[in-house]
């Protein structure tokens, strides 16, 4: 089980190898990048299948809190698997597209993969910061690699916001470390309650601000539109399905383990209550995200803002903090990643076929490429959460948990339902345009065996999860109890066991 370090180390080692190979044989370095990601996917699936109880992997032979530890449980393994799967398909998609990229491009994708897995697995607050910075740097470079000014502008906007976020995060680390004397997440969880409550509230607000940037929560998401639009389509897909996923993971982990020792027990610091802040940020994000998506004529921007809306919904679920809502949030995150990656792949090909990302000029493409159009509809239904498609279960559970909760959380039901209607309208509007009578003869969409393999896999996943959610359901059901700190298989007790206490 300690082999889970290879989830982080293998792509890192491969990335270090690329400049060497890129000098000798560029093609080989690309192929090996893909194979590394594929091997990592296999490893993560293997770990997921053989998984029994949470465990802690120590680094450097030093027990936590002196050394850094990785924490592997169902939540981190599931997310690592999704990230690996998404990146593997993303690399395949990029390899099969007409635009030839330099070996460095694949190297940066591998570094992104490394850092996202590091974010997901680490149990140390500062280590999380280091991996967040690697993720940031590699994604800025990748966004700008589209060689278009829009991408460079998006990357710069992202850079400025993310740098502010990392300063806030470091300031929070300074406050937390000098008051509690530790950086280990499990230990901080106890230490935060011994802190002066105003100080603790300040630290928590600073951390929340930086995590909101990773997770694309309003008002920290002004960069989203231009970054997604200017990036190459494979990268936009990865930003939505892997980077935002890792951000949401960090949010889940930190808000349950660090801020509150377990479910439904999110800490109050004096009169300051995190739950309501998270909930209202989520509401505002859903409303603004879906409204911006609704008004977009640019397909990539539309998908980007739709991701923002989904992240807002997940933040609301995190804030409701019941066993059901956690289940719903994890389910929705995973299915959102799958469906969005599918949509971005299709949109990417449509953009390269028509030379524009304005979807009103895509009229009639679906008539000539009907399977592509059907796949688009499957992806759209998956994101929207129509019954029999993957997104349904997550959304359904979140709405159910909002029904059961009292107070302002009840409002979540209406917000999510309204957002679903808006999503359905703007996706079906686009899908309708695809099958409309064309004004001029639509161009040929460049497809190929690799593209069809990727999209078929994703579309099948959307449908199969929608119809038979049972296998995924069994895995996700374990998560709420593992997140809880008070039982023997919970996060905190696992780490404390590794500390020898």
């Amino acid at each position: 089980m300690k082999y889970s370090i290879f989830l982080i180390v293998a792509p890192m080692a491969m990335a270090f190898l690329v400049p060497f190979l890129g000098h000798v044989m560029p093609a080989l370095s690309k192929g090996l990048s893909f194979l590394t990601a594929l091997a990592g996917t296999v490893l993560s699936v293997f770990l997921l299948i053989t998984y029994k109880t949470p465990f802690t992997v120590i680094m450097g032979g030093w027990i936590p809190p002196f050394g850094i530890n990785l924490h592997v449980d169902m939540l981190s393994l599931l997310f690592a698997t999704v990230v690996y799967g998404a990146v593997t398909l993303g690399i395949a998609f990029q390899l099969s597209s007409v635009v030839v990229k330099k070996p460095y491009f694949y190297m940066l994708i591998l570094l992104l993969l490394t850092s996202l897995n590091g974010m997901i697995l680490t149990g140390d607050l500062f280590n999380l910061f280091v991996f967040m910075e690697i993720a940031g740097i590699s994604s800025w470079a990748l966004i700008a690699s589209g060689n278009k000014t829009a991408g460079v502008r998006g990357a710069l906007q992202y850079m400025v916001v993310a740098s502010l976020a990392s300063v806030a995060y470091l300031a929070a680390i300074a406050i937390i470390y000098s008051s509690t004397g530790t950086l280990n997440m499990a230990q901080i969880s106890g230490g935060l309650r011994e802190m002066n409550s105003a100080m603790a509230a300040l630290a928590v607000l600073l951390i929340l601000a930086s995590l909101f940037t990773e997770m694309e929560i309003f008002p920290f998401n002004s960069w989203v539109g231009s970054a997604y639009r200017g990036a190459p389509s494979s990268i936009s897909g990865l930003l939505s399905s892997a980077v935002a996923l890792a951000g949401a993971y960090a949010m889940l982990r930190i808000s349950y383990i660090v801020f509150g020792a377990g479910m439904g027990n999110i800490i109050r610091f004096g009169s300051f209550n995190i739950t309501s802040i998270l909930f209202w940020m989520g509401v505002v994000t859903v409303v603004t995200g879906e409204a911006s998506a609704f008004t977009q004529k640019d397909a990539k921007r539309m998908l980007a803002w739709s991701s923002v809306g989904q992240m807002g919904m997940i933040l609301m679920a995190i804030a409701i903090a019941s066993e059901k809502s956690i289940y719903g949030a994890v389910f929705a995150l995973i299915t959102h990643s799958i469906s969005k990656l599918l949509l971005f792949m299709i949109v990417g090909r449509l953009v390269s076929a028509t030379g524009t990302s304005d979807w009103t000029r895509w009229k009639g493409i679906g008539r000539k490429n009907s399977i592509l159009g059907i796949f688009f509809i499957i992806g759209a239904l998956g994101v929207t959460g129509i019954p029999l498609f993957a997104g349904f279960w997550g959304k359904f559970t979140i709405i159910g948990s909002a029904f059961k909760s009292t107070g302002s959380s009840y409002l979540g039901v209406y917000i999510i339902l309204a957002a679903t209607v808006m999503e359905a309208v703007y996706f079906l509007r686009l899908a309708h345009a695809l099958f409309e009578e064309p004004e001029r003869k639509p161009g040929k969409v460049n497809t190929g065996i690799v593209f069809w393999t990727c999209t078929t896999l994703l579309a099948l996943a959307v449908v199969i999860i929608g119809v038979f959610p049972a296998p995924l359901d069994r895995k996700i059901k374990k998560i709420p109890s593992e997140l809880r700190g008070d039982n023997t298989s919970g996060y905190i007790s696992t780490v404390y066991k590794a500390m020898g206490r």
């Binding site: 300690k2 370090i5 180390v9 060497f20 590091g118 590699s138 950086l183 802190m195």
Partner: protein, 247 residues
């Protein structure tokens, strides 16, 4: 954003920080240190693995690590994984620069004036020796691989300015090689001792130059890597710079 809004925002933040720091509720706070905490006390007294010493002397053997500079011990031994991440950050940044700025027109480099070009090699040699000293003594004195490597890169920048030296692909190779060796050292620890980046070379005499081989090896790798990285990355800024001057 206009200036008044900015000042208003800064005022709000400052007030919030002031309110938090002046809060009189009970509990621990930064800047008001309680007795030194467990973690750093264990680092200083080298008692992380539970073995207690009444005092530590120069020349002592069998300590959990024999670095007298505790910051170095933390950076490379106790929290070595962070440092691997840090090295990767630089690597990613330089790769990004290569992706964005590399592969452009042919470069012409103009030589600098006579004073710089005659002095450059001597200064560069001096910098090289100093930086080697800095990263070999990382476990004894302040300094280490990062400043040492950065100094070599500065020396190299001087060479670029002084001569017609062109930064070549050699640096990328060296960087690649150094990064791989870092991971390899980590994996050897994993294979021999069971934990990634664990010290598998043993510890020697505290306070001697080659007493902590593990740290010296890692700092040498980091020094080479940082030097190669910064030289190649900054080379790609400089090259274009000189070329534009020429045109």
């Amino acid at each position: 954003m206009n200036k008044i809004a900015a000042i208003l925002m800064i005022g709000i933040i400052s007030y919030g920080v002031y309110a938090a720091f002046s809060s009189t509720q009970p509990g621990s706070k930064p800047f008001k240190r309680k007795a030194q905490n467990d973690v750093s006390r264990a680092y200083l007294a080298k008692t992380v693995n539970g073995k207690k010493h009444s005092s530590i002397m120069r020349g002592m053997k069998g300590l959990e690590n024999s670095s007298s500079n505790i910051v170095t011990a933390v950076v490379l031994d106790y929290r070595g994984f962070d440092t691997l991440g840090e090295v990767t950050v630089l690597f990613a940044a330089i790769a990004g620069i290569g992706l964005l700025l590399g592969g452009q027109k042919k470069r012409v480099i103009t030589p600098a004036g006579p004073i710089i070009s005659s002095l450059a090699p001597w200064i560069a040699l001096f910098i090289l020796i100093t930086s080697a000293y800095v990263f070999l003594h990382g476990h004894l004195t302040p300094g280490g691989g990062f400043p040492g490597g950065a100094m070599i890169a500065a020396g190299f920048l001087l060479m670029v300015l002084g001569f017609r030296t062109k930064p070549s692909g050699v640096f990328r190779m060296l960087e690649s090689f150094a990064g791989l060796s870092f991971v390899l050292v980590g994996l050897l620890g994993f294979l021999k001792k069971g934990s990634f980046l664990q010290n598998f070379m043993g510890t020697g005499e505290m306070g001697s130059l080659f007493g902590s081989l593990f740290i010296t090896v890692l700092y040498a790798i980091i020094g080479i890597k940082v030097a190669a990285e910064l030289s190649s990355g900054f080379g790609s800024f400089v090259k274009e710079d000189l070329e534009e001057e020429h045109e």
